[in-house]
Symmetry: C2
């Protein structure tokens, strides 16, 4: 049986490796548009900050590793058309040679592409996006000429991580966000901690300001204009306002597309076309809290979807457990994360949410080095069910793994009160007899019974 995987990033490689593990007799081609299979796109900000010295280190596995695992890699090869009836596709390699390739099963993992806002000047030299290794190389070259200032359009993950990276490299950095807060996937009180952390390190965060023009100005710089008379010149501009699914290939072949432009998949990651599976940023994600599809393009989800698609494409029968909306971000010394539903999201989904904000030290106050954890628990007033959890604190305060305690509880449909019951670990340098997460749950319980 011949499996073709289109896409060599997280989802595609996870699918191919799992398929091979599940059925070692499979013949597997992985077709990818660039020369960088299995590279960590999430690592690009750390390459650009200089924390990762060698770009080749960003490969989770080397090309040789992948080939030793039994995958045939077709690098710098694009797919120009899929025939779902004949079960063929047309590939064009770096030498412009076109070929027809047959397949018995196809995994589409074509990822996403950066959203480009409809503003003039995006094609000016010095304006960058950051989504591929080639994007990173381009920006790295621009940084070699020692620019003094950068302007970042967009206050999501990439914008925030790149603000840190460029500040670390000594640039004067301005981050401009259209919304009243950065990181719109967390509540405003936590988002303001992120803005403060960037300001504390010398960056400028400008909120409530849409950008409407980028144009060359004096001294080879770029002049950026926005709402409310905003105007700033910078040597480099990075546009990071989100991504959209790259679903055209399978869409053109007739695969169903959802409301956000992503491929519709069932929980086995099957598209609407027989024999065609999809995974990663090109596809929808089953949201386990909402019980319906959502679009949540994240590396973690891409890996899990890929593993599921690969196993099923190889003849297995695995169901994707779904996402509960877990995300974490580090900016300088601050870690911020969320899982589950926020208050508004929960209300929109028909729950009766109560959200309670509280603060607890990450470990017993008497042991040196305690840091405050800012936590927010969302639970259902009627059923007591845990609906969501948000947390922010020092990068050494176990913020991500504490977030994961809540994510694990959400996955199992726990109540807020049930968090308080968990037998969590304790030693004075690490925690408290009631872990901070449990203190947050108890704050919710007190507020809920008082309400």
């Amino acid at each position: 049986m011949h499996l073709v995987v289109v896409g060599g990033s997280d989802a595609g490689i996870a699918a191919a490796l799992r398929a091979r593990e599940f059925d070692p007799t499979l013949d597997i081609d992985v077709v990818l548009a660039d020369a960088f299979p299995n590279f960590s796109i999430c690592g690009l900000p750390y390459l650009l900050s200089g924390e990762v010295g060698d770009w080749q280190a960003l490969a989770h596995r080397s090309r040789a590793d992948l080939e030793r695992s039994g995958l045939r890699l077709r690098l710098e090869t694009t797919v120009h058309g899929v025939d779902p009836v004949a079960r063929t596709l047309v590939v064009v390699d770096a030498g412009h040679r076109e070929a027809v390739m047959g397949w018995d099963a196809l995994v589409v993992a074509t990822g996403a592409e950066p959203v480009l806002p409809p503003i003039p000047g995006l094609d000016c030299p010095g304006v960058f996006v950051l989504h591929t290794m080639d994007d990173a190389f381009g920006l790295a070259r621009a940084l070699e000429s020692a620019p003094e200032s950068a302007l970042i359009v967009g206050g999501g993950y990439i914008g925030l991580e790149m603000a840190e990276a460029l500040i670390e490299r000594g640039l004067e950095v301005t981050l401009v966000e259209r919304l009243p807060q950065v990181m719109p996937t967390v509540d405003a009180n936590l988002a303001s901690l992120i803005s403060e952390e960037i300001a504390r390190h010398g960056g400028h965060v400008v909120l409530d300001t849409g950008v409407h023009e980028i144009a060359p100005c004096r001294g080879g710089r770029l002049c950026v204009k926005g709402d409310g008379g905003f105007e700033r010149a910078a040597d480099v501009v990075l546009v990071a306002v989100g991504v959209r699914p790259n679903a055209g290939l399978a869409g053109s072949a007739g695969a169903a597309i959802g409301p956000q432009g992503a491929l519709v998949v069932d929980r086995r990651m099957a598209t609407s076309l027989p024999g065609v599976w999809a995974a990663g940023d090109c596809a929808e994600t089953y949201h386990a809290m909402l019980g319906r599809p959502a679009y949540l393009p994240l590396g973690t989800t891409a890996h899990k979807q890929g593993r599921t698609a690969g196993e099923n494409a190889a003849g297995g029968d695995r169901v994707f457990a779904g996402s509960v909306g877990t995300q974490v971000l580090r900016v300088f010394d601050l870690a911020v994360g969320r899982t589950g539903l926020r208050d508004l999201e929960a209300a929109a989904a028909g729950f009766e949410p109560l959200t309670v904000v509280s603060t607890a030290p990450d470990h017993v106050a008497y042991y040196p080095g305690a840091h405050p954890l800012h936590q927010s628990v969302t639970g259902d007033r009627t059923t007591g069910r845990l609906l969501g959890f948000q947390i922010a604190g020092h990068r050494l305060a176990q913020v991500p793994a504490r977030l994961d305690i809540a994510a694990t509880a959400l996955h199992h449909g726990a109540t807020v009160d049930g968090i308080s019951d968990l037998d969590l670990s304790y030693a004075p340098p690490f925690g408290s007899p009631w872990d901070a997460v449990q203190s947050a749950a108890q704050a919710w319980i007190s507020a809920s019974s008082g309400a």
Copy 2:
């Protein structure tokens, strides 16, 4: 209604505070033998290491805080007899004044006491145990005279934490353990990491060696002799070979006692005597994995049991969810923890365990500062159920909270495969697209399907 709580440590104070919160009209006396209500006994090693400068900082709440919460504290008062029929008890205060006190509900939280091995010389000056604030003050005074060497009998929590504390204070430290490994609650491969960590910092760990005599020797030192011709002189000896339940008070009143000498309680923390509840190190613990009582004297459990006992003593109806056997320890830069059942424990409980050891970096290898996590997953071969998890790694590698992900999954009866499905967080400085815990689960799955 009058509630009397006997014991002012974790369980007693948790019970009193929860009872007061549940029913603010309650009249509550907390009777404690010493003058240190709500002190963190788990913090004693850090007081003795010097990391905690002021012993008063070890109080989770001050005496004034507790009184403001509505508790009447009777310090330095011992209870000499409980009459469960008349619902009275006899108290003797610091001035040797005896009084009879009535109660409507009684919470017994009399804790544990150090086990003293049957060896001569335990009464020599310079030999210490460490369980109370007074024990700590005694040892602190001995350390003020700048001893050069210490010998610790026992390689459990207290012995190991005190080995670090005394090495940090510049003493030559020898730790002697009767068993072939320290920390007998984790597997030997993780325990050996602990021994190595102590050796790396200049301590001496002597295994397989029971101590059978302590006696004064030249120069005011103590000479310790043990199995196989072991003999070493030290200025200070600390005996830390475990604790046993202090259940005599309620036992004398007729409360049922279990096989390990702890008070028998149901899951509402009721003893066999009507109106008498028990919590903490004097009582048994419901083990949620085994579905039966066990004796697991830990601060975390004491708090949860206390909260349950207090709520029920105040007229509530709360069930203690039980322990899954979670524990964590830090020694120097190493954190080691376990939750659930180890292979032998699982087999003894009728499971068909398979245990798979694996190693994964705490975060993506390309981001600086990655540390290896040594993990061990125990699952049931037949059902795939997760039975236990052990983990060791650098203190900055989120070992405790990662352990808690497994503890949360165990609490919910998850399968090993279900760990791989969890939507856990990821950012390159903190983790990997598959968290290390998930890599460990996948290693188990591969071994399990290969077996």
